[in-house]
């Protein structure tokens, strides 16, 4: 198992970096933060044209069936650029969920459209109080004459506003299932949440006797969702690593060029040592993200403990390095116009969206205890 990039992966990284340099510079990020949709459909189409939206979708469903390593390469660049797009929800979490549910009809209908950039989706699993799916969701699914009907409330739904289809996690009399809900369905109300990070939109879904279709089998939803969240975490880790690396870059560039007391501030050990500690966090986060991706591709037996440690580590690393980035920049870092706070906002969101670091640390110890 190696974390070294192959030539193809290095080319992929360059392609994505070039695209994002052109299509997701800070001015664009700012524009999309203030927009209603939160992303640029023309950029979404370009991602599709490059095959990035079908990256983890198998070839039989219109994708390229790439591995976790390729996903990490792409996500690292997206995290660096704070790309505003529903990539994590629609192009990563949804395909992994549908594949885990093994619902061929749904896969055949939806995945090619996702790969082509024609359809966006959101997965609604969290309920108030936890970003993780509850073991027994309060959202319930009951059978109707021609399908199912959902009632309940889902929160922290990533890219939930404007999605073309929702996959909702709900409790039925046959166990926890995943149910497809159309945005125009009766009794469905989608409300945008006020989020600290405007580059990553979230919604609240309220469902009242809302018609829904069961995906896969009832009772298979909990395990499929956990599997999908863990595989999608590879992308989140890489985004966090990329964001952390970018913060170090910004901070050291500033420390080299900002003069006070007749010296570049980076010549002061107080700043220099802070930057080195940030570099250690960033490189470690990067190694963690790539290692976990490789471990998933190789089916390593320790991949779940490695994932748990990596999710805790990368969340903490991104938060602390983004915070230190503001400090290194001093006054300018405290202004809205400077991008430092955008990374801290993203970092603090990423450190919650698939559960907080303490949850992952507890998970690590629990798995080790049981083994």
């Amino acid at each position: 198992m190696s974390t070294a990039l192959t030539r193809e992966q290095a080319d992929l990284r360059q392609t994505v970096a070039d695209l994002l340099a052109k299509r997701s510079p800070q001015a664009e990020v700012r524009r999309l933060m203030a927009s209603d949709d939160g992303y640029d459909p023309s950029v979404w189409s370009e991602l599709a044209a490059l095959g990035l939206l079908g990256l983890v979708i198998p070839e039989e469903f219109g994708g390229s069936g790439a591995g976790a390593a390729e996903l990490a390469v792409v996500s690292e660049q997206m995290g660096r650029a704070l790309l505003c797009a529903p990539f994590l929800s629609a192009a990563v979490l949804t395909p992994y969920l549908l594949l885990a549910l093994d619902d061929t009809a749904e896969c055949a209908e939806v995945l090619p459209q996702i790969a082509a950039g024609e359809l966006t989706t959101a997965v609604a699993f969290a309920e108030s109080g936890s970003a993780r799916p509850p073991r027994h969701p309060a959202t319930t699914a009951v059978r109707t004459t021609n399908g199912w009907s959902l009632t309940g409330e889902k929160i922290y739904v990533l890219d939930g506003v404007g999605a073309d289809r929702y996959y909702v996690h709900a409790e039925s009399d046959s166990g926890v299932g995943i149910f497809a809900v159309d945005p125009g369905a009766a009794g469905l109300e989608v409300t945008a949440l006020n989020t600290i990070d405007q580059t990553r939109r979230q919604a609240r879904l309220t469902l009242a006797d809302t018609p829904a279709r069961l995906i896969g089998t009832a009772g298979a939803g909990a395990i499929a969702l956990d599997t999908a969240l863990d595989r999608a975490a590879v992308a989140l880790l890489a985004e966090q690593a990329g964001g952390t690396m970018q913060c170090v870059q910004m901070s050291t560039d500033y420390a080299r060029t900002r003069y006070q007391f007749g010296r570049a501030i980076g010549s002061f050990q107080a700043i220099k040592h802070l930057c080195v500690d940030m570099l250690l966090e960033a490189e470690s986060a990067c190694s963690a993200a790539r290692h976990v991706a490789a471990a998933f591709d190789a089916g390593e037996p320790n991949r779940m403990t490695d994932l748990a440690l990596a999710q805790a580590y990368c969340s903490d690393a991104f938060c602390s390095v983004a915070a230190a980035t503001i400090q290194v920049h001093g006054g300018i870092g405290f202004t809205w116009e400077h991008p430092a706070h955008l990374y801290l906002r993203r970092a603090r969101t990423d450190a919650q969206i698939f559960a907080d670091p303490a949850w992952h640390r507890e998970r690590y110890v629990r798995i080790r205890e049981e083994s």
């Binding site: 050990q269 220099k272 570099l279 250690l280 190694s287 963690a288 290692h291 080790r368």
Partner: protein, 385 residues
């Protein structure tokens, strides 16, 4: 020759020649004559002109059967330095006995007043006919009591800036005027010594490089030392590296009845997270083809290891609780936890403090500017101290 050819040849040679009961001197000579002592060097210095990685293969094969005598081209600081910069006379006189293990060496670099700022050293050497007379104090010297020679940096000119007045000597240790006292470390161990030097003599013939040119000789000697430390860190089990059985904290917490404590569980995962990312950094450094990426990762290794050792000891302290107040054979667990707590400073101070390492990484990796040096052109004699 390919790596496999070398491996085969050295294995065959060892199979035919290695005898665990062999006389030490005789064995050393045989290894030397065969060119295994310093495989990457010329035959006259116990080598056979192999590449550096091939030399490591030879050393690994020797280590695998428990045979001594290979790898002087990486491990013998005296021979490495003299081979680089010594005169022909010095090479012939000093290298073969050192490579064969007939003479032993120690390092006389640090002083009580010259640690991080080694160039501020004050040990003085004054010319007296064919000799130099040395007076001063050195610290952190391993193996000082068994050494025949010390690699010594001493000030030979106080009237030039500090880096320019230093000379490098191969200093005879076994003489009146050299007193070795063990240093008692905070752990209770004594691995290092202080060396007090009073009017001791070193022949001018043992000056390496020019008088006043010792700083650049030292840089080469230190480069050899860093390479050796890197080798040891990769291979030695006792190099402070956390054992791969990452469940040791869990085992310890379970034994202490603390594994149900949610705070302890969090702390365990924090400490093991540091160890895990360091393993992944090392793996990434080894697998990448990007030399700058590898160099960046390796430069962070020391700081990362300090963090692992200090944090692991901190979590162990939290696990054992009041037992951490006790030591000795009655309280082996408390004893071990305190030892690890204190011994972590071996890594965060030894071989250059973590703070100096952060300067180095900040300047060489991140390209941040150096501190201004207001005394760069000031004669050593005039420096504030």
């Amino acid at each position: 020759m390919t790596d496999d050819d070398i491996r085969t040849e050295v294995r065959q040679w060892l199979a035919q020649n290695w005898d665990p009961g062999a006389d030490r001197a005789e064995w050393a000579q045989r290894v030397f004559d065969a060119g295994w002592s310093a495989p990457s060097w010329e035959p006259e210095w116990g080598g056979r002109g192999l590449s550096d990685p091939q030399s490591r293969i030879v050393a690994a094969e020797f280590a695998a059967v428990g045979a001594r005598g290979a790898g002087a081209d990486r491990a013998d600081m005296l021979a490495c330095t003299v081979r680089d910069l010594g005169t022909d006379e010095q090479k012939e006189r000093l290298i073969p006995p050192s490579v064969r293990g007939e003479t032993r060496w120690c390092l006389l670099y640090s002083e009580p007043g010259a640690g991080s700022d080694l160039a501020g050293l004050r040990t003085r050497a004054e010319r007296d006919g064919d000799d130099w007379i040395v007076t001063g104090q050195k610290v952190w010297t391993s193996f000082a009591t068994t050494a025949d020679y010390g690699l010594l940096v001493a000030r030979t000119d106080f009237d030039v800036p500090k880096h320019q007045g230093i000379s490098f000597f191969i200093f005879p240790m076994r003489q009146a005027g050299v007193e070795v006292r063990p240093i008692h470390q905070i752990t209770g161990e004594s691995e290092f010594n202080e060396v007090f030097i009073t009017d001791a003599r070193v022949p001018h013939a043992n000056l390496v490089g020019e008088a006043g040119g010792g700083w650049s000789v030292l840089q080469l000697a230190l480069a050899h030392e860093r390479r050796l430390m890197g080798d040891l860190a990769r291979t030695s089990k006792s190099s402070g590296e956390l054992k791969p059985d990452a469940d040791s904290l869990i085992t310890m917490a379970r034994a202490a009845g603390r594994l149900a404590d949610s705070h302890i569980r969090q702390e365990i995962a924090v400490a093991e997270g540091y160890a895990a990312v360091n393993r992944w950094n090392t793996l990434r450094a080894k697998s990448t083809r990007d030399k700058a990426e590898a160099a960046t990762l390796l430069s962070l290794g020391k700081i990362a290891m300090s963090r692992i050792l200090h944090e692991t000891a901190r979590v162990q302290t939290a696990i054992v609780g009041p037992e951490a107040m006790l030591c000795g054979t009655d309280s082996p667990i408390g004893d071990a936890v305190t030892f690890r707590t204190l011994n972590a400073y071996f890594t965060s101070i030894g071989g250059g403090t973590d703070q100096i390492q952060r300067n180095i990484v900040g300047e060489r990796v991140l390209g941040l500017p150096r501190e201004p040096e207001p005394y760069r052109d000031t004669a050593f004699r005039d420096l504030p101290h």
